[in-house]
Amino acid sequence: MNSDLERRYRWLLRIYPDAYRADHEDEIMSTLAEVSREDQRWPSGREARALLAAGIRLRALTAGGGSPTGLVVDGLHLGSVLLVAGNAVGAVFAAYAGNSDRWHVALGLAWVFAFATLVRGGWILPVAAAAAAAALAVWLSYDALVAQPAQWFAWAQVAAGALLPAVLIAVLAHRRPLPGRSPLLLLVPAVPYALAMGIVVSPFFLTSTLFAVLVVVSGIALLALPLDPRPAIAVAVFLVPTISLLIAGAAQNVALWVEPSWTWPSVWALICVTLATSGVRASRRVARI
């Protein structure tokens, strides 16, 4: 195997988990050398696809402990981290747009802190931080909830946006200490906000940008299903607050993000259920030998 081909194969092998690569990289390179032609300078498409697919699948299986249940649990954890990231990003951008009082700025900081603890992993700190942020969200909404108990959207926002991630994190941490996560997950909710806010501060534009990004992310999660079911389950979890708010808006004929209609919540609910059920089914296939 010439040095160009070896360098390119080693670059592809970076998709594998570090621990696996440390143990198996030389061995895999040895086999790749045996199946390669002497004058070959680029990885074959077949070998490259297989390496990428195996690396992604191995990452999923490593995170999920090798079992279908573990994959689903890790997907739920990923979803709850995305929800916390969404809350943090939403609060930061609301403050940036001048739509926050100091208590809502404090709430944003609480979500940012909760996200930081989830990036680090463990169990006491992430559970406590998410619970504290959720409690602050309930407290800040308390007046609205008590004064206007029929305002479903306020209840939906608190229940699905704040309590859901806090409860999920507590339940998952009860099972085992939470694994650390990449801080880059913050980009999933931050990119549409940044795009929308960078061009024009408009609720309509923000909504359409958010929806467009959610469609793209859902599509990527569906495409990744044969190798990694966790993104599909995570995106399904991430969609729950959006759907709750859209349902509340339609039920009360209030324009929340979009004109009140049962079409949007129905479409997103269908996408959410499709992602969740496909993710659970795919977790059995991915874990199969």
Binding site: H24, T31, A50, A53, L58
Partner: protein
């Protein structure tokens, strides 16, 4: 016949089968699987090591020594007793499935 585990994927089946004659290193498994499957199963390295990793985690395959050839590491893999049993069960399942279809084909031909 009730199955105690889901059916194996075809590449996994031939990886296990390739180890029946004794331990092999990665490239040896690729060649033997291709031979046993009459050229149908051509394992890519990524597919092979992904499957071997899962088979080792499930106790169906074990590592049986290492050596360095021309400066590169080779690891040898062997079937465990559990791997042998799973392979035998899968081979019987495939044989039973084939037999059922062959009987039906004979019956249909007989009616024609």
């Amino acid at each position: 016949m009730a199955l105690s585990r889901p059916a194996l994927r075809e590449p996994t089946y031939f990886i296990l089968a390739s180890l029946l004659d004794g331990p092999l290193h990665g490239y040896g498994v690729i060649k033997q699987a291709e031979l046993l499957s009459d050229g149908r199963v051509r394992l890519a390295a990524g597919t092979l090591y992904g499957a071997l990793d899962r088979l080792m985690a499930d106790g169906l395959v074990e590592e049986r020594g290492r050596e360095v050839v021309e400066g590169r590491e080779r690891r040898y893999y062997a079937l465990t007793d559990a791997g042998h049993a799973v392979l035998a069960e899968e081979a019987q399942r495939l044989a039973a499935s084939s037999q059922a279809v062959l009987l039906r084909l004979d019956a249909v031909r007989g009616m024609a």
